[in-house]
Symmetry: C2
Subunit: 242 residues, 2 copies
């Protein structure tokens, strides 16, 4: 059996009870190098298989092979395994293989939610999640979705905003969103949410690219009502407080 285990943003206190149990009871833990390092303090006698970025298919094939050999496999995935995580490709490979191996998934806390709880309460209203990585998605599709995020005045959570190979996409995203949203729209940048070196920037749409942004940054662009006050970023939901 393969247990697809969400390990959350990084801080081990964010894992769910069942996720911890699934890792503890596994005979083998499989994952991306960086996520294995984050959960290393939890590991005891489990065998460990890890590899690098862009090796997702290989990693899942290994998990499948080990499960078929009788191992109890925990395939770990940062954040929530079902949000840009390993749950999808693992299910696809098991289906292709003939569906003999069962998968059990354990949801977790995705980066945007960890970031939001550090910023205040920026995502309490309708929201979109867009990854700027074009490794698996055509850039025209990404652009279309950023336009749609603007059209709907959604709170817009941007994953994978910038890498060495595509430093300019975040500028592009900003320009598209500025077609619909005010330049003063509240923006929160959270780097390394719930890890030792967490950094928080509260800014606005026109200035957001003036700050350090990397692959470990989640960007939350507010809707028209979102505000920043006394160090908190908040989207009012419209409750009557009279």
């Amino acid at each position: 059996m393969i247990h697809v285990v969400s390990t959350g943003p990084g801080d081990l206190n964010c894992l769910s009870y069942e996720a911890v149990k699934a890792i503890e009871e596994a005979t083998v833990v499989v994952g991306y190098k960086k996520y294995i390092e984050l959960i290393r303090p939890m590991l005891k006698d489990q065998k460990v298989h890890f590899n690098g970025m862009k090796k997702e298919v290989e990693r899942c094939r290994k998990a499948l092979q080990l499960a078929k050999e009788g191992e109890r496999v925990a395939l770990v995935s940062g954040g929530d395994a079902g949000i840009y995580g390993m749950a999808g490709i693992m299910h696809e490979l098991v289906l292709e293989d003939g569906d003999e191996v069962a998968i059990q998934s354990y949801p977790g806390i995705t980066a945007a939610m960890a970031a939001a709880s550090e910023l205040g309460a920026p995502i309490v209203h309708d929201s979109v999640y867009i990854s700027l990585s074009d490794l698996l998605t055509d850039i025209e599709v990404i652009k279309k979705r950023i336009h749609a995020a603007g059209i709907g005045d959604f709170i817009t959570c941007i994953y994978n905003p910038k890498s060495k190979g595509r430093p300019y996409y975040i500028e592009m995203a900003k320009e598209i969103l500025m077609e619909y949203k005010s330049p003063e729209t509240a923006v929160g940048l959270v780097r390394n949410a719930r890890r030792d070196n967490q950094e928080i920037i509260l800014t606005d749409l026109k200035s957001m690219c003036d700050h350090t942004i990397d692959m470990s940054t989640v960007i939350i662009v507010g809707n028209k009502d979102t505000f920043i006050k006394k160090g908190k970023m908040i989207t009012p939901r419209g409750y009557d407080k009279s």
Copy 2:
């Protein structure tokens, strides 16, 4: 101090370690009646204050008052407190009150992620979250956002899809999405995700309203690539499996 604690979908195994600790260490627990019942097995000596739906502001005022009296308050919120939850209004009231009381937030597993892990892996690509409740949002804004979800071919997660007061909004949402998405688009309905009486329906966009849908249902409408196979709903992310 007020600890805004996300209690996840309902199953106590989904709570994070830090959320459990925050509830255990509280002197008073404040929350919506239904969520208090779900965490009742965890409670020991804590005082408990609960009230009903639409009493969110009152509940937060109570939490604030108790915190100012020196209590260690856990304000519990189902799912993730930052996603249509209590984190927003709590922050707003503390700001208005003069910001003397500190808030600590604990993120959690929102309903869509719990539902997704039960369905397979439907949300591994770009997604939107829309609530159909018009209590706090103008119906025209809701409609605009459903259109935008269609324009962007987002995986579309619908919260609060149907109540007695507005039984037809989900039909309206379906009609709008059908302007952009194929009638055969994969849809998953999960009622009472991760609770005793969980129900899962795999269907398609044209037929989704033929099934039981209520306020405890999360609806996940796929993008153009989402498929249902052998009881699983999966959105491929586009990995090269050759």
